[in-house]
């Protein structure tokens, strides 16, 4: 009864456009008050305690630091130099610019941890270049939006950090390693429809006019950017620093490149970079901490067990339940952003995963793949919003192209579900 009330308040408020943080917090507080009517202050003191404790966690520090890395590399001038270098390698030709856009987005995924930051960095360079080469804007925006979704799979990744905070059994290094192979597969899978669409629709007619940059000169220009993932991922792998420290090292490395080497960041830009990154992190973290109140009310009300039992004993079987979860997340991904999906669904799905003894790192990779899909599934698609804004096209225009890319990434998800080793081989190999 109370549980039904909790979910009704929550869903109605969310659909009415109330900020998700407020919907989570109010529904949680209301459920606690009704459940504990007899006690002092209706047990509501749990509200500030959970809020404060949910926020005061040292591992959460990795989130603002990786958001800051994204904001800095977004303006460091690295993206355009990587694009030139990639063009020097493959040379211009039909479908080569979309291929480069995807490859560079994947590479930036090894530096920054959030999809929208990569969509902005790649979009700012590639969409204009693709337009000059004769690609339609809606197509370019689709390619960039989809490619940037590989970012949360390829380590480092803000999504994996949030999952790790929610699931103590899954460590950040193990998740980072597990995301690597699926992330690269997802990028390769996106290249297929992107190049195929470009060729069958004869897009990019003027791509032959694009100059091929000289190889060695562009390699030298791109070297600073090429070294960044080596520093971040290698430093973590060698045990030089923790994920949070790796992010901070990347912050200072990015500032050095942007301010001293490429000179694309001026001193007065710093205020905006830090403000934007701080506010974006605050928006994520406030949902994280208020979801703590929601999760607390779920656990005190004891609703998770009956729901888990009902699903587990529904006769669907292990793979039927997995299919149900994938479907649920596809629908949720159409309307919710990735962080909210994790915070709302992980507490509900974790007992199910434990019942079937699913590997929690593998499960995290599957959930992240679903979140990545959601980042470019209209109507709510954070990456597409960014790339469409740069291309100045409405999101509706991308529908014609985006479907193929969604299918490509969904196939990768199915492959990771069918062959857990795709995710688990690397962390096992590295000994996490």
């Amino acid at each position: 009864m109370i549980a039904a009330l909790l979910f009704t308040i929550f869903i109605v408020a969310m659909l009415a456009g109330v900020p998700i943080a407020a919907a989570l917090g109010l529904a949680g507080a209301a459920a606690i008050a009704i459940a504990d009517q007899g006690t002092q202050w209706f047990g509501l003191l749990a509200v500030p305690q959970n809020f404060y404790a949910g926020l005061g966690k040292y591992p959460l520090l990795a989130i603002p630091m990786f958001v800051l890395v994204g904001s800095i590399f977004d303006r460091s001038g690295v993206a355009s130099r990587l694009v030139r270098f990639a063009l020097a390698i493959v040379g211009p030709g039909p479908g080569m610019l979309p291929l480069i856009a995807i490859a560079v987005a994947m590479f930036l995924g090894g530096i920054s941890g959030s999809g929208p930051a990569t969509a902005a960095a790649v979009g700012a360079v590639m969409i204009a270049a693709m337009k000059r080469a004769g690609y339609p804007d809606a197509y370019s925006a689709s390619v960039v939006g989809a490619a940037a979704a590989t970012d949360i799979l390829i380590p480092p990744s803000v999504a994996f950090i949030v999952y790790s905070v929610l699931v103590p059994g899954a460590s950040v290094p193990a998740l980072f390693a597990a995301g690597m192979v699926p992330g690269i597969l997802a990028g390769l899978a996106l290249i297929v429809p992107a190049v195929w669409l470009a060729r069958t629709h004869r897009m990019g007619a003027r791509e032959g006019d694009v100059e091929r940059p000289p190889f060695w000169a562009s390699l030298r220009e791109a070297a600073w950017g090429l070294a960044a993932p080596v520093l971040i991922l290698g430093g973590m792998r060698m045990g030089w620093f923790t994920p949070t420290e790796a992010a901070v090292v990347a912050v200072f490395y990015g500032l050095f490149i942007g301010m001293v080497v490429h000179r694309t960041i001026r001193v007065r830009d710093l205020f905006d970079i830090f403000r934007e990154a701080g506010e974006t992190s605050a928006i994520i973290l406030i949902v994280v901490s208020l979801a703590g109140i929601f999760a607390f009310s779920l656990s005190t009300l004891g609703v998770i067990d009956p729901v888990t039992n009902a699903i587990v004993n529904s006769g669907l079987g292990e793979w039927g339940v997995m299919a149900l979860i994938v479907l649920l997340l596809i629908v949720a991904g159409m309307f919710l952003d990735g962080i909210s999906i994790f915070l709302i669904f992980v507490p509900l799905l974790l007992p199910i995963a434990q019942h079937f003894s699913w590997d929690l790192v593998w499960f995290g990779v599957i959930l992240t793949l679903m979140v990545a899909l959601g980042q470019f599934t209209p109507p709510l698609a954070v990456n597409l919003m960014v790339s469409c804004r740069i291309a100045r096209v409405p999101i509706e225009d991308t529908v014609r192209w985006i479907g193929w890319m969604l299918v490509a990434m969904l196939l990768v998800t199915v492959a990771v579900i069918a062959f857990p080793q795709l995710a688990l081989w690397l962390p096992a190999r590295l000994g996490y």
């Binding site: 509200v47 500030p48 030139r84 804004r389």
Partner: protein, 179 residues
């Protein structure tokens, strides 16, 4: 004609949240912005200093963890406060931003009210939490400082978020139904 790729990124990609001017507010948003920037910069510097100190000396700098957690809380609350005024908090826009202007207006007011209600509730309840920290003389686990030195900022900044939401409510009311 050769179409060379641009050598440098445009300094800021064309994103509304950076280019759109803020609505004028009675209390300037610069206040939150400065606090956000300072706490973000301090967090980065402290963590970086941690790495350096560990490599160049064999001393541990771990006591800074408590201070970093505090800065993280402050940054989240002041950033959230500015995000209320700028209407940047994550929400499902799909249904709420469609429909008649009348409905959009009402739902926007509801969103601001819900945010105000929640953070006023948290502000009031957390006063009690801080009071407990004070009278029971709770000590922070890392540095051994009085816990209330840290927790006092929760009601203060929650109140600020609530007031920002009230401010947004009034601005929406004053602007009336927008076509």
């Amino acid at each position: 004609m050769s179409a060379a790729l641009p050598m440098s990124d445009p300094t800021s990609p064309d994103l509304p949240e950076t280019t759109a001017a803020d609505e004028p507010t009675r209390v300037p948003l610069r206040l939150e912005d400065w606090l956000t920037v300072v706490s973000m910069a301090l967090l980065a510097l402290i963590t970086f200093a941690n790495v350096l100190v560990r490599y160049f000396t064999d001393q541990s700098f771990a006591w800074t963890e408590e201070f970093s957690v505090f800065l993280l809380i402050v940054m989240t609350l002041v950033g959230a406060s500015a995000a209320v005024a700028r209407n940047r908090h994550i929400r499902i826009e799909f249904l709420a931003d469609g429909g008649t202007p009348q409905r959009r207006h009402r739902l926007a007011l509801l969103g601001a009210l819900a945010m105000a209600l929640l953070f006023f509730v948290i502000a009031v309840l957390s006063v009690r939490m801080v009071w407990d920290h004070y009278i029971y003389e709770e000590i922070s686990p890392g540095l051994g400082l009085p816990q209330w030195w840290y927790s006092i900022w929760l009601p203060v900044l929650s109140l600020a978020i609530g007031l920002r939401a009230v401010g947004r409510f009034h601005r929406l009311r004053r602007a009336g139904v927008q076509a």
